[in-house]
């Protein structure tokens, strides 16, 4: 589904990803772990099409299509969803109408009729349950005045509404208390299907107790230095990044 080959990318002239490779198949959950500054968020931004980042080499294909030249909205319409690490606040824009705009953009793309506010309200109420949020949050401004946990739940809820083929979670677990973490993880687990895949980017292993990955990759200095099954995350938690990364060189 997603194939990243020899990806080099950076921001403001600074090289961050230096030859990143990854293959993701439908039905899989991949965890990308790594210390701060290893390039985790750059990867997420580059996949979503943030124009502040510059790709200098390599290719990314999604469902056989080269996506590096596509606009962010076109990638989104193909089914790539990024749950942001720091969701921005958009004052005055109603959460419900924002979600309907996004939902209808996708419907148009799929050449299906758009839904009216009443129909959408029903869809939304269903999805709200997944993230255990109260309906009054539909009428609040997008992320404005939301607590850290609410913002992250809002991301998962958007993901539930848009039902992406590839969900990228950029440190969605950071700053969450244990309850919010459980809600976020359950949300992801409920969205998992044989047809879609998830890329879970995280600093800590604790999210992976709830969202069990098929593969774990360790990112260091812009490259994957080790890949393994879910046990690798546990090892990482016990030994720390330095040792596990060093293990590669030693092995």
């Amino acid at each position: 589904m997603l194939s990243i080959r020899n990806l080099h990318a950076g921001i403001s002239g600074k090289k961050i990803l230096k030859g990143f490779n990854l293959e993701v198949k439908a039905g899989e959950v991949h965890a990308i772990m790594g210390p701060n500054g290893s390039g985790k968020s750059t990867l997420a931004r580059v996949l979503a099409g943030d124009e502040n980042y510059e790709v200098t080499q390599g290719e990314v294909t999604f469902q056989g299509k080269n996506i590096l030249k596509l606009e962010p909205e076109d990638r989104a319409l193909l089914g790539i969803f990024l749950a942001f690490q720091y969701p921005v606040e958009i004052p005055g824009v109603n959460n419900g109408s924002f979600l309907r705009m996004a939902y209808n953009a996708k419907r148009r793309h799929m050449q299906k009729p758009e839904v009216d506010p009443l129909e959408f309200d029903e869809i939304l109420r269903e999805k709200l349950k997944i993230v255990e949020m109260s309906p009054d949050f539909i009428n609040r401004s997008v992320n404005q005045g939301f607590s850290g946990g609410e913002k992250k739940r809002n991301e998962i809820m958007q993901m539930a509404v848009l039902d992406p083929t590839l969900g990228i979670l950029d440190e969605t677990d950071s700053g969450l208390d244990i309850d919010a973490l459980r809600i976020v993880a359950e949300g992801v687990n409920r969205l998992k299907k044989p047809e879609n895949a998830f890329l879970v980017i995280t600093h800590y292993q604790r999210l992976l107790n709830h969202v069990v990955p098929d593969f774990v990759h360790i990112l260091s200095d812009g490259k994957i230095v080790r890949s393994g099954k879910k046990e690798l995350a546990v090892e990482l938690e016990q030994k720390g990044y330095d040792l596990v990364a060093a293990n590669v060189d030693g092995a």
Partner: protein
Amino acid sequence: MAPKTIEEFAQAEYKYGFKTEIDSDTIPKGLTEETVRLISSRKKEPAFMLEFRLKAFRHWQTMKEPAWANVHYPPIDYQDIIYYSAPKKTEAAKFKSMDEVDPELRKTFERLGISLMEQKKLAGVAVDAIFDSVSVATSYKEKLLEVGVMFCPISEALEKYPDLVKKYMGSVVPYTDNFFAALNSAVFSDGSFVYIPKNTRCPMELSTYFRINTEGSGQFERTLIVCEDNSFVSYLEGCTAPKFDTNQLHAAVVELVALENSEIKYSTVQNWYTGDPKTGKGGIFNFVTKRGKCLGKNSKISWTQVETGSAITWKYPGCILIGDNSVGEFYSVALTNHFQQADTGSKMIHIGKNTKSTIISKGISAGQAVNNYRGAVEIKRSAANARNYTKCDSLLIGPKCSANTFPYIDVQNQTAQIEHEASTSKVSDDQLFYLRQRGISTEDAMGAIINGFCRDVFRELPGEFAVEATQLLGLKLEGTVG
């Protein structure tokens, strides 16, 4: 990578820039006492009106154009302006029915989306259509008169209700008020007159549509709205003009008088021609004095404005709160794009006890535009327990525009409570990216952010006009991104 950021500009077409070919009765350029007399005689005005005009003219001659506003423009040659231009054979008062209105004029207003045919009109909105210097049609006049509501061109009011005009004209904005008000008092040609009798809720929205057509002509209209005890009216004003390379002067005066327990809601959607988007050439100079007087107890005046046009906007709709417990409100969205400049805000003068005022101002700047909020809140000694809440938000789109806030607060009574909030924000690339990542196009994303920013003001507009304003902003900012 081709950046699709908010810094990039394309040009939006102004779709009302056409000119109507029509025979006009136009007086020569220039302004002397003779011009003033000529205008008054063309309109067959009563003697007191000519007297008022002449006093205003003489006073104007002693005044200097104000220079304190933060707007910059070449000097205006007041002798190079046509002060009166009227389509021939069109004096609204003479028409028995709308069918008699010149078809060219009717077509013009149809193209502007304003139908003068009552059966085709927006349900529940009566329109006074003003073309250059005169009112060409007023719809629903008779129907309104059945409930005692007078709605007609001010020239007709001078004929039919001279005492009312004499009593109230100049009572809120005296001709000595400022340079442009003095000019208007001397040469005003037409405008709307509204009178709501006691205990009457005006059964429909009233609106005036202003259209400047003749090149080189100025528009100097005057609107007077009087609301007697326990009455209510909602009034809307709209404006457009053709595209000319020369600047056109629009210097209007609007006076509102609210008596006991009455309420006047005055909304403006202003869409004059802004000048050439690339060079800044042409466009309307909009120097307007709008003021309301809350004379009676518990009266309320509410101004809502969406300002998108004009090369230069200079206007400060305000309220003089005389009656105890009276309320003044000002809700404004001022959009400046390309080379537009706006110096606009509100003036709230508290005189009565327990008077309350609210100012919500949203300034949006894009391109190389300058957007200034200038507001004054005065609490006089007599105004015990007066309250004011002011909120000025500025939104910047792109790196070359600017926004300024100039609040003036003068408090002479210690029981006053005044709150002032101001914020400046940018439409950030992060916000756009966030929305685009959800599959929303850049244009739609921008529209959503702008409308979100203006929401507090838009919800004050009457139903259909809120939709119109939303679309208008979208149109004006088209091509601001991407």
